[in-house]
Each structure stands twice: as structure tokens, then as C-alpha cells.
């Protein structure tokens, strides 16, 4: 399963990256690289800085400090080149519920200026892959959570990205759907040589799918290596135990990142 061809070429390079909201340092001087063709798991407790890092990599947020390089481009200065390079499945659903599955796909294809003939073919191929082709003309609001997620995966891959970001893609899905999703993702990683960057709270998923794992806590990267390395380093037998050994067993009371920020903005009088 992990036999895919990896090169040493870094497709994502993060150097001394920080993001500050007022007095709160969400991401604190982190550096890491992701090699082309690998499946990379970015793990951490709630509020550790995972989503903030993904937002900076995907041009949605500007870093306070540090350097980013994605597929050779800088997300701050070369936004469009970066945006063409990746596909993304966000933590929250990001489909238009009033549109049909197919319309959501076409909308995406037009935004990424795909030629019409290529577009039609690839939409069919991907909707078949995620088993939604026979429901392509139904409005998304009639879909279950699992179907929406599958559609988002198909959509994220439509424009042939080099890197695929998945921010907690299996949140709230049943085991069957989770299993299916990971099968697609591994298949695509092998078939299209696509680099996968994902976050999850389910350690078994990371253990099974990821070549490399990085653990972030309180905005800092505290460990990095293959799931096996991490277990060895901590003298544990599974990634879950290694994770708990590294990040401690305290429950995190931080508000979710976006709520925390909203509150911060309200307090600073932006409304």
C-alpha cells in the first residue's frame, strides 16, 4: 500500500511560519516539508493550529510571519498559481445546496477555466468514481452527509490538482463511508501521483493511510515521522498512544478556531 513512488522533491515547504490573532499565537514558528507523492497527516488536538495552517497554505489567510512554498509557488504573492495547484475538502461542507451535483461540478470547472470537452469527461469519470453519477441531477440539499463529502472529493479533484488538502474529511461519517473515502484517496494517490495533506482526529486513519505524520500542539510542531517512528520514539505500540503520550491527556477547552476569532473581532469592535 505504501509502495508508491516518492521523490525527495518537497511539494510543500513551510519555513518559520507564524500566525497571530491579537495576543493569541495560533501558529508558532513552524517548519516542515511534504514530499511530492506522499500522504501526509497533520494531527493535533482541537485548536492546535491545524486549520489555520491549512488556510495559510491555501491562500485564505495571510501569515503573520514566515515563508511558504507550495508546488514551487508562494501563496502570498502567486495566489493563482498556488490555487491551481491544489484541491481542497474543507472541514465544513462547502457545496451550494440549491444546485445539483452536476451543477456544483460545472461551477467548479468554470472557476478553474477547464476546457469544455475535458470538463465533461472528467466530471463523468469522477462522479462515477464516487458513485454519484446516477444522482448527478439531484439538488445537493437532498444528499446525506456522506454523499456530500463524496461529491466534495470529486469536486476537489476535478481540475487535476497536484496537492489535495482534506481537513477532517471523515468528520461525522459512518465507518462504511469513511472506509470508502480512504479507498478513493489511496487510489488517487497511487493513480494520479497526487500529494495528499489531511487532518483527522481518528488516529487509525492516519496510521493506515499516512506515510508521514506531523503532530502540532499549541501552535508548535512537536513530532514528525512515519506512524511507526512515532510509536517507537514514544515507546508505545500505536499512533493513538503515541499521540496521547506527546500531547498529554488534558482536554482542550479552547474554542474552535473560527469562534475564537469571531469573539476576538467582536471584542475589538469589528461589527
Amino acid at each position: 500500500m505504501k509502495s508508491i513512488e516518492q521523490t525527495d522533491e518537497a511539494v510543500i515547504r513551510v519555513t518559520e511560519l507564524s500566525k497571530r490573532y491579537g495576543n493569541f499565537l495560533a501558529v508558532d514558528n513552524i517548519s516542515f516539508t511534504v514530499r511530492r507523492g506522499e500522504i501526509f497527516a497533520f494531527l493535533g488536538p482541537n485548536g492546535a493550529g491545524k486549520t489555520t495552517t491549512i488556510k495559510m497554505l491555501t491562500t485564505l489567510l495571510t501569515p503573520t510571519d514566515g515563508k511558504l512554498l507550495l508546488n514551487g509557488y508562494d501563496p502570498v504573492r502567486e495566489q493563482d498559481a498556488v490555487r491551481r495547484s491544489f484541491g481542497i475538502v474543507f472541514q465544513d461542507f462547502s457545496l451550494d445546496n440549491e444546485l445539483t451535483a452536476r451543477e456544483n461540478m460545472v461551477f467548479h470547472a468554470v472557476l478553474y477555466s477547464m476546457p469544455k470537452n475535458v470538463r465533461e469527461e472528467r466530471i463523468k469519470m469522477l462522479l462515477e468514481l464516487v458513485q454519484l453519477w446516477d444522482r448527478k441531477d439531484e439538488q445537493v440539499k437532498k444528499f446525506s452527509g456522506g454523499m456530500k463529502r463524496r461529491l466534495e472529493i470529486a469536486r476537489g479533484l476535478l481540475h487535476l490538482p497536484q496537492i489535495f488538502f482534506l481537513d477532517e474529511p471523515t468528520l461525522g461519517l459512518d465507518p462504511q463511508t469513511r472506509n470508502l473515502l480512504w479507498n478513493y484517496i489511496r487510489e488517487l494517490n497511487e493513480k494520479e501521483q497526487i500529494t495528499v495533506f489531511f487532518t483527522t482526529h481518528i488516529m487509525e486513519e492516519a496510521e493506515r493511510a499516512a506515510h508521514t505524520v506531523a503532530i502540532i500542539d499549541h501552535g508548535k510542531i512537536i513530532a514528525r515521522g512515519s506512524p511507526k517512528d512515532l510509536a517507537e520514539q514514544t515507546g508505545t505500540t500505536s499512533l493513538e498512544e503515541a499521540f496521547l503520550a506527546l500531547t498529554g491527556k488534558d482536554i482542550r477547552d479552547e474554542e474552535s478556531e473560527s469562534n475564537g476569532r469571531m469573539l476576538g473581532r467582536m471584542l475589538r469592535g469589528r461589527r
Binding site: 488556510k55 491555501t58 491562500t59 485564505l60 489567510l61 495571510t62 495566489q79 493563482d80 498559481a81 490555487r83 491551481r84 491544489f86 481542497i88 474543507f90 465544513d92 461542507f93 462547502s94 457545496l95 451550494d96 445546496n97 440549491e98 444546485l99 451543477e103 460545472v106 461551477f107 467548479h108 468554470v110 472557476l111 478553474y112 477555466s113 439538488q139 469536486r155 469571531m262 473581532r265 469589528r270 461589527r271
Partner: protein
């Protein structure tokens, strides 16, 4: 161009697929039209001002366009809350194009809503002067719609959720409407009210519509055209700027 088109198309599809919203948005303007039109008609006539329904219809069309376009602009907050905004913001297209597509889409929907009011008005006896007048009226509706969709977009770019909506409704949309001359003629107004009306860009939209449909422009159709064009231009730039600054 394609990008602007697909965003425009999306707004139209969303509009035509939600029938309750079309009907809901008709309720208030129709209530104003019937209650005020028939209620004040006799007094207006006695005051020697002529037919109040004729006078009122352009005002109510403007109202309907104002409400719908403002609402369409503010819809960005929905997109933000339901996540779809992210899909457009990570796409390799300029935010300005996204904003323009949305604005034209929202404006088209608002014009359509205005046309529905016009058709209903024709059924209860409203008459406009000529066919070219109708085209001019459509143009004014479109200008009002672009202007206020841009205003809605600008406001929505600054808000995180819908909690501020009531505030906007009561302190911006309603005053804009009531102080625009949509309901009353502009002659012999108290100086303060007159000044406010003249500062309100919607007044020029209402006046332009009235000028086009029934030949009664009080501010002058060229002034209407100039003010509307200028303020739409400025607001689209401000809206585009604020929209491009959104961080999620």
C-alpha cells in the same frame, strides 16, 4: 467573462428555485401598493395632485428592487456561514470577478422582482406612457439594483453572521426607502427632509423611474442618470474592495 457568467447564472438558478422567496419578497411591496395606493388616493386627488396610484407605482417598483438587491448582496453572509464562499475564494479567479458576477446576478434578480410588481400594477390600472419609456424604466431598475447589490455586498463583507441584519434593515434599508420620495412628491418639503432626500441616491432612482414611466421627474432625468451612474460606480468599487479583503 465565463466566471462572471457562471456566478450570474448561479444567482438566477437559486432565485428561480426558491418560489417561497419570490412570493415572500412580493408581500411587502404589494401591501404598500394596495394600502397606500387605495388609501391615500382620494386625499391625493382632492389635493389636486392627480392619480396617486400612478404616482406610487414607480416608488413601489423601486422599493421592491431596493429590498431584493440589498438582500442579494447580503446573501454573501449566508454563503460564508454555509461554507460555499470558501469554494469561490480558493479558486484561481480574481475576487473582483466573483463580486461582479454576484452583483450582476443579484441585480438581475432584483430587476425581475421589479418587473413582477410592474405587471401586477398594470393589472390594477397603472398605465405607463410609451414602449421606449418602458426600456428606460428597465434601465433605471437595473441601475438601482446594481447600486444596492453593491451596498449589500460591501456591508456583508464586514459582517460575520446575520445578527446585524435587523440593524441594517431598520437603520439603512427602511430609511433609504421612506426618505426617497417613493411615497410622496418632493415639492414644499421641510428643508431638512428635502436635504436628506436629495442626499439619498435612491431618490434619483425613484425619480428616474417616475420620469421614465409617467413623465414626472422632479429632480431631472439627467441628474438621476448622473447620480445613479456615479454612485453605482463608486459602490461597486467599494464593494469589490471590501469583498476582496474578506478573510475566512
Amino acid at each position: 467573462m465565463n466566471v462572471i457568467y457562471i456566478l450570474w447564472l448561479r444567482q438566477l438558478k437559486r432565485y428561480f428555485r426558491s418560489k417561497p422567496r419570490i412570493l415572500g419578497a412580493l408581500g411587502q411591496p404589494l401591501l404598500f401598493l394596495f394600502a397606500l395606493g387605495f388609501g391615500f388616493g382620494p386625499v391625493y386627488q382632492r389635493a389636486g395632485e392627480g392619480n396617486y396610484m400612478q404616482f406610487l407605482v414607480p416608488g413601489i417598483i423601486a422599493m421592491s428592487v431596493l429590498f431584493t438587491s440589498m438582500f442579494n448582496g447580503i446573501e454573501i453572509i449566508w454563503d460564508r456561514q454555509f461554507g460555499f464562499l470558501k469554494e469561490t475564494l480558493v479558486a484561481p479567479v480574481s475576487r473582483v470577478k466573483i463580486m461582479l458576477g454576484r452583483t450582476f446576478g443579484g441585480a438581475s434578480v432584483a430587476v425581475f422582482q421589479g418587473i413582477i410588481i410592474l405587471v401586477i400594477s398594470l393589472l390594477i390600472g397603472f398605465r405607463f406612457s410609451s414602449m421606449p419609456a418602458l426600456l428606460a424604466a428597465l434601465f433605471f431598475m437595473f441601475m438601482i439594483a446594481v447600486l444596492f447589490t453593491a451596498v449589500g455586498t460591501a456591508i456583508a463583507s464586514l459582517l460575520e453572521d446575520m445578527q446585524g441584519f435587523q440593524l441594517i434593515m431598520n437603520f439603512l434599508i427602511m430609511p433609504l426607502f421612506f426618505l426617497s420620495g417613493a411615497l410622496f412628491p418632493l415639492n414644499d418639503l421641510p428643508a431638512a427632509v428635502d436635504a436628506i432626500v436629495r442626499l439619498n441616491p435612491l431618490s434619483y432612482g425613484v425619480d428616474g423611474l417616475r420620469g421614465a414611466l409617467i413623465g414626472q421627474a422632479q429632480l431631472g432625468i439627467w441628474a438621476d442618470l448622473g447620480v445613479l451612474t456615479f454612485s453605482s460606480f463608486v459602490l461597486v468599487i467599494i464593494g469589490g474592495y471590501l469583498f476582496s479583503k474578506i478573510q475566512i
